[in-house]
Symmetry: C2
Subunit: 348 residues, 2 copies
Amino acid sequence: MAVTTVTIAEIAKTTQATVSRALRDDPSISPKTRQRIKRLAEELGYRPNLLARGLVGGDTYTIGMITTGLDVEVHSVKITAFEESARNKGYLTITAFNPNEPGLEDKLIIRLLQRSVDGFVIYPAEHGEHKELRALVEKNFPIVTFNGDGRLDFQTNDVSLDYYEGGKIQIEHLSAIGRKRIAYIYPVFSCYTIDQRVSGAKEAAHNAGVDFELIQIDTGNSGQRVQTELAYEKLREFFRKNASRFDAIACHNDLFALSAIRALHQLGIKVPDYIAVIGFDNISASEFSMLTISTISQPAEQMGLVAFQTLEALVKEKNSRESEHEFIRVKLKPELVVRESTGRIVDC
Amino acid sequence: MAVTTVTIAEIAKTTQATVSRALRDDPSISPKTRQRIKRLAEELGYRPNLLARGLVGGDTYTIGMITTGLDVEVHSVKITAFEESARNKGYLTITAFNPNEPGLEDKLIIRLLQRSVDGFVIYPAEHGEHKELRALVEKNFPIVTFNGDGRLDFQTNDVSLDYYEGGKIQIEHLSAIGRKRIAYIYPVFSCYTIDQRVSGAKEAAHNAGVDFELIQIDTGNSGQRVQTELAYEKLREFFRKNASRFDAIACHNDLFALSAIRALHQLGIKVPDYIAVIGFDNISASEFSMLTISTISQPAEQMGLVAFQTLEALVKEKNSRESEHEFIRVKLKPELVVRESTGRIVDC
DNA sequence: CTGTTAGCGCCTTCAA
DNA sequence: TTGAAGGCGCTAACAG
């Protein structure tokens, strides 16, 4: 059927082991036969069976990725960047999605382990014990987490965004353009990264000496998913009653900011003249929108890239030594992007 | 190290083969020993090694997916829907991305084959020979393509959206609200699905007896990727000179429509009063935007679902018989979503 | 019903 | 520098 090392050996009138060695550039093989075998393999269209290779304990050049769904644009960018750098180094990334169910995380880890992945990138579920993850980390299996810092109660190699800093920057910017009565709007469900943004915002407001109020919008908690239409309705209702109290709004993400702007627009409240709005994430729509949105940009490609480089290093090192050393923890800084929604300065 | 069937056999004082059979519910095993072995396996935390299983020729419960990047929201929805239904049936989907390079498609297929996937879902690259894909289809390997209809010169099991119909619906709607001078705006790079939209639109315009003009915008051809800022500039320039000639614009997708609306807004041209705008895809931003966008909605979840069901059937059938039968070809209909950007009717 | 015996395709000792 | 042999964990005959 398929051409294997045995097929090649028979034709080359040598043994299977020699073929195997030649193909892997084993130094013990003479340049001559190596070349001969390689040519033959090429001609016959030989493709190493990675299952067999993995079975005997070698690397599979496969990395398991477990992440939340693709509904958040920023995650997609991270995933894409990771996959691309992995692919360029000859790794295949096998991706499994976990819409934030703690139990599913364990199951997916097991499933991927059964396929003998060389390492893992994991965006941990918000809650749960992380039983499997913890076990792997303890046995020193190559793992890198995204945003594990703070939501896991044990150390890992981690690449995170500094959400606290992000929240701070949002408010500092609003304050810098002269706004003094600021609301921070976010959904009710609890989530570490949102909490961080809020904390950072609170501190910045305190430092700047501006009024600051936290507004939680109940978006219908179908899991962590925001129900878009409902969110819009709630926002409009809120602004109808309370808009006059504020001259600026910071939102936990750009979609919320879009909805907020739409609601304000409906109510005839001009943005940014009366109320300035800033979002978070820098999704593409915030640049395409009729009124472009100021926001906080995540270095998402870089996060994907750094995560892969870290993981690759761990995988290689595992093969050489079992050196125990410190966990690698990278925390990247977000950046302010100023657009129309905070564009004009109003003097009060 | 890890617990295997041998480990269990030793403890259960039986043979490895018996354990293997018991675990797989082989009817030849007595209920007693089966239960005993299963309990033991559970206690020991046994996890079958899927590589070994795959090596002997059995199913791996792994499906390979090759698709374009995650930058297009509709694709993400399809992927997510597919992955979820696969997961619920015990399959792992391993996803590889191909930003439309014909050569890469072949490479990725090979890589996934080396991991012994049970089947493939492929969103074929726009151009190229599709050498590997063709070979697999010929040897009757379980494969389902997305939008392969029209862009492949050979038959496959396929799930497509009817883009022609979509283009038609766009124009029919604009005509139905009384518009008579319509432009179809799309980027310069050629692509089967865009061509289809345009053809459908053209026919609809002809049938409705309205003026119809094709406008291609040069968005800088970094591959197939639209350069957003450039696209916006070009659109604004175009409208500045030509807006007066039209009372409606149809765009090949929603991001373009967003940009178009922003450009029109900048120029002080009211949407939909002077110019109505309709997009394509129904991305979330089209609903969140300050001015919500009328568009054509793809049944993306359904496409993912149908693709998986079709593929699963092929995989199962392969195991039973080598029955040769017709290719399964599903063509789904898009739907009109009316929002503000075509909301008000203007009499002329 | 259960045990025995071959492999699947590859890598890795150990000899020669 | 190459060959021979064993085994990774599992499934699939073939016996008993």
